[in-house]
Symmetry: C2
DNA sequence: ATAGTAATGAGAATGAATCTCATTATACGA
DNA sequence: TCGTATAATGAGATTCATTCTCATTACTAT
């Protein structure tokens, strides 16, 4: 099974388990998010899905976030980006060019290890977000 | 010299080097940022400084950011936070409770080491931001 | 002191995100 | 399958952080 389908079926299951209905608009948001390999903004989703209202897009994202299916990331632009959270835990972080706004995903095992070694009394840690800032080759 | 004064004098120097004038409103923004031990929003700065216009606060922050004196952080709320960047490079990251919004700073040497070992071809890295998300003791 | 111009503040404008509420569609029991 | 309860939706209004405009003020160098 492709990773996209895996995630969207996983999402459908958690939605059902939460007692929410399987509505077409929400399903379309899920499928669009499933196709992305990196973050996408709420307004991009809204623009991509004709016939799905903006409010529905934001509501769907909010629910998916609460279920731990989607992660909000600040990529330096004017709007937030959202990306799916694989049930496997596999994920990437981002490098942002502060000049042109270009975003590139990256993965680093040592970084993940260091983060998982962090424990803070009184906090149950769930997710984390790492963003590296700098200048890309074109802007240097 | 206290760390606050160190930073605000460093900031004043970079402002001057950039050919900008030493204006009272901008100086007050710098001093307020210098006093903070963690992030503060633009509107909090605006509210704290009577007689300093909102536009001036945002403009000052923007300039300080460009000079590498201030760092913007997304702490999950509706507005961004800003905090001073010590010339020594000494800094902290943040743990956010996704339920109540509480923010706590933390430092971790192993994490910093792992980040400094990351190199990405075609990118000149400058700063980084790490945010851990979870639930605090009160919300668990 | 004065001229040149960076900087400011009040308020308007923008734009992402949220809210409202009348309408529609889904799930579930009969 | 039908009917009902109610979750979910969409259009548009609203909120609120941030940015822009522009006439006025105040640094700075001469």
């Amino acid at each position: 099974m492709s990773e996209e389908n895996e995630w969207s079926e996983y999402a459908a299951r958690l939605i059902a388990d939460a007692g929410l209905r399987r509505s077409t608009p929400r399903q379309r948001v899920i499928e669009l998010l499933a196709e992305q390999s990196c973050a996408i903004t709420a307004l991009q989703i809204d623009a991509a899905l004709d016939g799905v209202g903006r409010a529905t897009v934001y509501r769907a994202i909010e629910q998916l976030e609460e279920l731990g299916l989607v992660h909000k990331v600040d990529l330096g632009g004017s709007a937030f980006g959202y990306e799916k959270l694989e049930p496997s835990g596999h994920h990437h972080h981002h490098i942002v060019c502060d000049d042109c706004g270009k975003v590139e995903p990256f993965e680093d095992e040592a970084l993940e290890d260091a983060i998982h070694d962090i424990h803070r009394k009184g906090f149950k840690l769930e997710t984390h977000e790492v963003t590296l800032h700098g200048h890309c080759a074109d802007c240097s």
